[in-house]
Subunit: 407 residues, 2 copies
């Protein structure tokens, strides 16, 4: 298995595009609708936010994906179509506009929205612009790039990735595009992420693969602890790689899941690193825990701690905040067995051993924390399980972006 360049068009038989249609009214140069189309019908699955308040597209997609197949995905940015008048009606009209161009059933189209909550979606603009978007589709990297751009809100960079692996003797590719970058604290579902693969796999198995992958990738990142109303991760597998179709959890399934996991972790890390206003990617690894679940809960508490995030922003080796966050995580552990390191490419420094502070070189600590990618490594000293979660620091820019998000 290897990472390759590209995104949703890396796999055979997928084309994509993105243009400005007028959903975003404040910047006419910003793309705001993306489209991904497969040459043939795909096995498809999606997971969604567990927020009680859900965007309209989620109810529509649950219906459209109930038979496990899809042909195309359409995504708008600039409007969440959540708590908005005519929400489901407009989500269905988005799908219908695509179905008309592609020549498929409206139920073989999935939709997603991201942006401001509570405002009516400009569906007329989307319907009017769909023929142009369909004509713009490309199976090259420019197609994926355009789609990745069109789903951005406060993201500063596009997020796309692709991998290649071998399944049943055939070369299989898969790729994806994703967007952050605020209201990111995925819970079971995740933020907007669209994945494509040419692997042949049944609807039931691609759904299973997606579920187990999301739990160890997107569900392990947080930008601000706010679980969105719109989180959606959708995968489409069109079978054009020609491998024997995967219908059970065999070696081929394992190979697919391994590739899917690498892909999703890469996209998840990109989302954390581009968290709103972020200056640092924070990786927190908890080692030697009794269980992976405990390591995950503690790691998540650390990356979600506002005080820890502020300390990393200030390049301040304030490990007391790490201990504090661990302590309120709800997990049971022995504080007197805990060790903590701060690490980056500038070095590694042990700041707390057996639950007590150590004298350490403040200059080295500062140098380590000045790097963009910072690791907080924790040893619980009680077992052999590990887990890593990813987050980012909280900055003046985060406050600025979110103090005036609607205008």
């Amino acid at each position: 298995m290897k990472m390759i360049s590209g995104g949703v068009c890396a796999a055979q038989g997928f084309s994509a595009g993105g243009i400005h249609m007028g959903v975003k009214t404040h910047a006419t140069w910003k793309k705001d609708v993306a489209l991904i189309v497969s040459d043939c019908t795909c096995s498809a699955a999606a997971v969604y936010t567990k927020n009680k308040v859900k965007a309209a597209h989620i109810y529509v997609d649950m219906d459209h994906l109930s038979n496990g197949t899809a042909r195309a995905a359409v995504i708008n940015s600039g409007n969440a179509n959540a708590c908005a008048p005519h929400g489901e009606e407009n989500a269905i009209r988005m799908c219908a506009a695509v179905a008309k161009e592609v020549g498929c059933d409206v139920k073989d189209v999935v939709a997603a929205s991201t942006g401001v909550i509570g405002q009516t979606l400009n569906i007329a603009a989307i319907e009017a612009g769909m023929p142009e978007l369909y004509k713009s589709l490309s199976a090259g990297e420019d197609g994926s790039d355009a789609a990745a751009h069109a789903i951005m809100t406060t993201d500063t960079v596009i997020k796309e990735a692709a991998v290649e692996t071998t399944v049943g003797g055939k070369t299989v590719r898969m790729g994806g595009i994703a967007k952050g970058s605020g209201m990111i604290h995925p819970n079971m579902g995740t933020m907007l992420c669209f994945l494509t693969t040419d692997c042949a796999i049944s609807p039931a198995m691609i759904k299973e693969a997606l579920l187990e992958t999301v739990n160890v990738s997107f569900n392990r990142i947080s930008v601000d602890g706010d679980t969105s109303t719109n989180d959606t991760c959708c995968v489409m597998a069109n079978g054009m790689a020609g491998n024997a179709i995967i219908t059970e959890k065999n070696a081929d399934y394992a190979a697919l899941v391994q590739a899917l996991r690498e892909l999703c972790i890469k996209l998840a890390i990109a989302m954390a690193a581009d968290g709103e206003g972020a200056k640092h990617l924070i990786t927190c690894t908890v080692n030697n825990a009794e269980t992976e679940a405990k390591a995950e809960t503690i790691s998540k508490a650390v990356i979600c701690s506002t005080l820890t995030k502020a300390a990393i922003f200030g390049c301040d080796a304030n490990w007391g905040r790490v201990l504090c966050a661990m302590g309120y995580s709800g997990e049971d552990f022995d504080p007197t067995k805990v060790s903590v390191w701060f690490e980056s490419k500038a070095g590694s420094i042990l700041v707390c051993k057996d639950g007590e502070g150590l004298e350490f070189d403040e200059d080295l600590a500062k140098a380590i924390l000045t790097e963009h990618d910072v690791v907080i490594r924790i040893d619980l000293g009680e077992g052999s399980e590990s887990c890593t979660c990813w987050g980012c620091d909280i900055t003046y820019d985060y406050i600025k972006i979110n103090g005036d998000y609607r205008t």
Copy 2:
């Protein structure tokens, strides 16, 4: 019952003070040790943080209060004495230094610390300074003020309050001092808060009264979602009001609890309003819920939402973030029955009705949210229970304060 001026010296027989001893090394003009002494032994009780990582003083206080009595309380700021070498030994030495001056048993002294985690407490400075602090004690308001100043860390104002009520035909007073202002997300225990009263009440009953009061006051505020390692709320009742001692849950007990609740809510609100860097006090009231517990969970989710806090900082009526926070609170409710208002002394505006956005006057909304005290009022439309929680906005100053807290 009425609010009166003063703090921990409002009740008969209590004196207090605070001086600089050298625990805070960066500002010699800042008071850093406070002392509260009763003329006679008190019924006393305390509640503490539920953080798994606890400051050393908490273990010492649990022991010292196991018999339900106390004579004095000593508190230092500038050092949390948590995860620090010789933690419990130094907390006991703080108590012993007080016992020597007061002439009481070391076990009748409770201690508390607040400040940086993981550094060794300068106990020698505290022992050397105790005679001077004891000499400085005053039973007037200046005594309470000095103590309230000495427990401040990043607080910008002192927090003290007092009430007067009638219990068993006698005038009873109670008062308290408290400090915030970051790492505030009390869980069962609370931040540093010391309460005194001249009411006669048994140790068992004052403990019971404290527990039920803390749950509806300090446990309903949050500044940053970080539950401290040091949270401590302690009450001392010296009986000098001369009322018949309260030993059961009778009408006298009810009168005491009512007064204690008012006092604690006032101190809790002061803590939320002075959250680190805060420009706004945010009050969130959830009405017409099925249960008070549900109203509380939803209200807390709203005041803890980083995105909602950032929107209030920007005076932006972004109610979608309120709905979003409600949705991930974990509580079950029907989003299509929810209404949301923003309110302040500048007016009231309904922004969401039955789960959908309304057109509203943006200028009025801005004027309402520009006020310091802002209310988010939510109607769940499903029952008749209510709850109010208090928080604050997140600002550039919060990031600034916490990016460089240790230095």
